[in-house]
C-alpha cells in the first residue's frame, strides 16, 4: 500500500516529503521500525508520529493512502 510521509524540523533535513510504498506494515509501531531501518538518522532522535493529522498516542492501524507525519521535539515560542 501507499502512504504519504511528511517530515518536520530536523527530520526534514534527511527525510523529504514523499509517497512511500510499503508492504507487510499494518500499524504505526511496524512503521516506526521500518522507518528507523530505512532512515538510520531517525534512531537517535526522539520523534512522534501523527496519523492523518492526529497525534499517535498508542499503536494504531495504518491504511492505504494514510498520511503520516514524523515530528521531532517541538521548539516553538
Amino acid at each position: 500500500m501507499q502512504i504519504e510521509l511528511i517530515s518536520f524540523g530536523k527530520i526534514s533535513d534527511f527525510i523529504s516529503n514523499q509517497i512511500l510504498e510499503i508492504e507487510g506494515i499494518e500499524t504505526t509501531d511496524d512503521l516506526k521500525k521500518h522507518l528507523e531501518k530505512n532512515f538510520p538518522g531517525l534512531a537517535d532522535i526522539k520523534y512522534k508520529l501523527a496519523l492523518n493529522k492526529n497525534l499517535v498516542q498508542q499503536n494504531s492501524e495504518i491504511k492505504n493512502r494514510d498520511s503520516i507525519a514524523i515530528m521531532p521535539p517541538f521548539s516553538g515560542g
Binding site: I6, F8, G9, K10, D13, A50, K53, N54, L55, A69, M71, P72, P73, F74, S75, G76, G77
Partner: protein, 147 residues
C-alpha cells in the same frame, strides 16, 4: 466562554509592536477587565561555537497545531475565569530582536490572567508542533531545542 470555531494563531513574519498596541486598545471597551497579562517571545542573537544567530525560521504542522491550540484554549477557559485569551505565533524568518510569540490574557482580577498566561506559554512550547531553525550569519543552521 467556549469558542467552537478553531482560531488561527499563525502570522507570517514577526509580530509588530503596533499590532500588540492595537490588540491592547481593542480591550478598552471591555470594562469588566481589571488586568492583562502578556508574554512576548523575542528571537535571541545567540552565539553557538563562535557563530551568531541572525534569525529563526519557524515552521509548523499547522492543522495539528491549531487543533491542539483549540484544545488548550478550551482547557484554559475552563480552568480560569478569563475575559479574553489571544495567541499569535510567527511562521517564516524572524530576525534577532523581533517578536515571534504573543500570548495575551485578561480577567477581572489579576491572578487568573497571570496564571493562565504562564500556563499557556508552557503548553504552547511543549505541545504545539512548531519548529524553530536557527539561521547563523554564515547561512548554516541548527534546529532549536526548547529548554
Amino acid at each position: 466562554m467556549s469558542e467552537k470555531k478553531i482560531k488561527n494563531i499563525f502570522v507570517t513574519g514577526s509580530i509588530a509592536p503596533e499590532f500588540i498596541a492595537k490588540s491592547i486598545s481593542n480591550h478598552s471597551p471591555k470594562t469588566s477587565i481589571g488586568g492583562h497579562s502578556i508574554f512576548l517571545g523575542q528571537v535571541r542573537k545567540d552565539e553557538v561555537d563562535g557563530k551568531l544567530v541572525s534569525a529563526v525560521e519557524y515552521t509548523a504542522f499547522e492543522e495539528l497545531a491549531l487543533t491542539k491550540m483549540h484544545e488548550i484554549r478550551e482547557a484554559i477557559f475552563s480552568k480560569y475565569p478569563l475575559s479574553c485569551l489571544h495567541v499569535h505565533h510567527s511562521l517564516g524568518d524572524i530576525k534577532a530582536g523581533e517578536i515571534c510569540l504573543f500570548v495575551f490574557t485578561s480577567s477581572k482580577h489579576r491572578k487568573p490572567a497571570i496564571e493562565a498566561c504562564n500556563e499557556l506559554v508552557e503548553r504552547i512550547k511543549a505541545e504545539l508542533p512548531i519548529w524553530g531553525k536557527e539561521i547563523f550569519t554564515d547561512e548554516t543552521h541548527q534546529w532549536k531545542e526548547n529548554s
